[in-house]
Symmetry: C2
Subunit: 246 residues, 2 copies
């Protein structure tokens, strides 16, 4: 029995999220079904670095699983990708240390959020970026973002349903840049609360559209109250980009 | 009654092609249904510069239609796009000369074909570019492309089902360039036969993969026989990019 670590990309558009559930098509469900086929009907469970919601994408989700099959990385990729539907693709499979855990061993993550601001909606971006009509003050968003970088209690910026008691996280980087006519927000940190990236994005967009003043951001953080932050930005703009390990 | 000229973009992935048909979802069908709603149930026919097949995309399809509604370009765009499904989008609507015809008045078209050559398939490109595994000799493809530019009988490069008798067309440009890690083939000409762009692309890919020699291209043209050219490249890589008028 060997533990494997793998990197998976998926287009979240047609999934009811990453995590397996009784109803609905899920990324985990598709992967476990294929692994079962490769193991002659024996169930093989996979553990991811974390879930992603319905419609959220991944470029570099990391999972681990145990297997008695002795395949090389290239053989695993070929076997898995030839059986998986074309909206999931493995790009790397390697032998991991026996105790490696995709979730508990992760020391950080990078998410990216894509926004396009064309006056007219673009049919090719409908599943892959959020559409914001009208001008956005990018410089104001950048200045507001600076207030959020660092170690803070992010209670105001996570779903009210969050059960985690400790909402202190370190946001080590929040870059905003224009790239190919779109706005790309890059978030890096040691951990992210439920909906944190999407609520921060929604709040920064409020600043960019003049609905919220930059000076009120520190107060939003201090309030520790979800209702004072902006709306949760839509799922389609969000990508789990990379997961970091020691 | 006024004639309007409009530019439409659509993601062809979920359509059974542009042209209306008894069964299946079509671009024309969706547009005519929305125009009918805007005209209180009166049918309004639209005429396009030409059809596109199932899975083929358009950035700049051009259509015309007649209407008694007196709306500005911006009003038309707003009215149409708010009722249309999100895989179709109008980017321009303007009053045309009374006799303007989207198909007969077109003097040329530009198509683009996107190819990616990553060893592993990319879930985000599955509907938007053709996937070719392994190395491709781009310089060889460029040299082969030169043999096809100009005025030729393109019988070898159109579907055997083509009913048009005169298969002489002028391909004024066939550029091949690498762009964002993908290969982009740009075709411009005064007219294109059925499947012509996809068969030329399939043939150039045979050259790029060493399955066909550059020196045989003139012979393929001269043969006027579909069976001597390469396979028809898949629909998902093809975009009707622009339609030209006087």
């Amino acid at each position: 029995m060997q533990r494997y670590k793998a990197i998976v990309a998926y287009d979240g558009s047609s999934f009811s999220g990453y995590q397996i559930q009784p109803k609905g098509r899920t990324v985990q469900g598709e992967i476990e079904q294929v692994l079962r086929k490769l193991h002659k009907g024996q169930p093989v469970g996979v553990t991811a670095s974390g879930r992603t919601d319905s419609g959220v994408h991944a470029r570099g989700q990391v999972i681990h699983f145990d297997s008695t099959l002795n395949l090389s990385g290239q053989q695993w990729i070929k076997a898995l990708n030839s059986l998986l539907p074309d909206d999931i693709s493995f790009s790397k499979v390697e032998v991991a240390a026996p105790g490696f855990h995709a979730r508990f061993d992760a020391v950080g993550k990078e998410y990216r959020y894509f926004i396009y601001t064309n006056p007219v909606r673009d049919p090719f971006r409908r599943h892959y970026a959020a559409h914001v009509r009208g001008a956005v003050d990018v410089e104001a968003m950048k200045r507001a973002a600076v207030c959020l970088v660092g170690t803070h209690d992010f209670t105001s910026f996570c779903s009210a349903k969050t059960e985690t008691e400790n909402r202190v996280r370190t946001l080590s980087r929040l870059n905003i840049e224009e790239q190919g006519g779109e706005l790309v927000l890059t978030f890096a940190g040691n951990g992210f609360l439920y909906n944190m990236v999407r609520i921060i994005t929604g709040t920064l967009l409020d600043v960019g559209r003049g609905k919220m003043d930059i000076s009120s951001i520190p107060g939003v953080l201090a309030a520790k109250d979800r209702t004072v932050a902006g709306k949760t930005a839509p799922a389609e703009g969000l990508y789990l980009w990379e997961v970091f390990y020691e």
